[in-house]
Amino acid sequence: MNPELAGRVFPSAAPYLVGREKIREFSRAVFATSPLSMDVAAARAAGYDDLVAPPTFPVVIQEQTLQQLLAEPDAGIDFSRVVHGDQRFTFTRPIVAGDELTATLTVASVKSLGGHSMVTAESSIVDASGQHVVTAISTLVVRGDE
């Protein structure tokens, strides 16, 4: 992997409009049972404008930015050798249906460890007014030759 990737900031991904049915679909897929993710009246009664996304929903938006990283011509990342090492989501506020979100990827670090490489990618996700919503951080391990 190219160590000069560290610190690189990618162009922002296209805005992602969070749909109510997408939140329901994702909620079912992760066995979510909270009424705030399924029932608009329950979400409004709890003070939200619309359905509240489950905590790992930002991965859907982050995914666009990870594709940019893997496709970067000089990155030298062989996708078939990539393993997901760890993942974190840090929220300023929850995602709700109707949000229009834009993700921007920064490569936080590139490390080598015993023939493997590790890249930590931080995708900062902001709403239509530019306010921070959540940062999604992935560490990808690229296995060396064995």
Partner: protein
């Protein structure tokens, strides 16, 4: 609430259907999550659950305990061991959520997530806003 208290515990039964559903919902169509032949060609015993699926459901007992997905301030995991999902028998993954730390307005809930007696997530921590 005290340190070490178990706040939630739940078993999740995964089948191949669960993996296909998650693939569609998340957009992660890596075939190692639905094709045994592809999984075996890269040295795996068979189809594995998406790590992000395991991360996604493991937090749900905490969401239900907190009563609101919006109370989750921060959530992190390390993927330490894969979860193979048998075509016939599926896989049962157990989540135990304990109070790991308490500070003003925030509880850190630590998750122990196991399949077949072995942990599959490391450093699985959820920071939750509390009254």
């Amino acid at each position: 609430m005290n340190l070490g208290d178990i706040v939630a515990e739940r078993d999740f039964v995964l089948t191949r259907d669960s993996l296909v559903r998650y693939a569609g919902a998340s957009g992660d169509f890596n075939p190692i999550h639905y094709r045994d032949d592809v999984a075996q060609s890269v040295g795996l015993s068979g189809v594995l659950a998406h790590g992000m699926l395991t991360m996604g459901f493991a937090v749900q007992p905490v969401v239900d305990w907190a009563g609101d997905p919006g109370k989750v301030l921060d959530y992190q995991v390390r993927f330490t061991r894969p979860v193979p999902v048998d075509a016939v028998d599926g896989a049962v993954v157990t989540v135990i959520a304990k109070v790991g730390a308490l500070e003003a307005g925030v509880a850190r809930i630590d998750l122990t997530v196991t399949f077949d007696g072995q942990t599959v997530l490391g450093k699985a921590q959820v920071r939750v806003s509390i009254p």
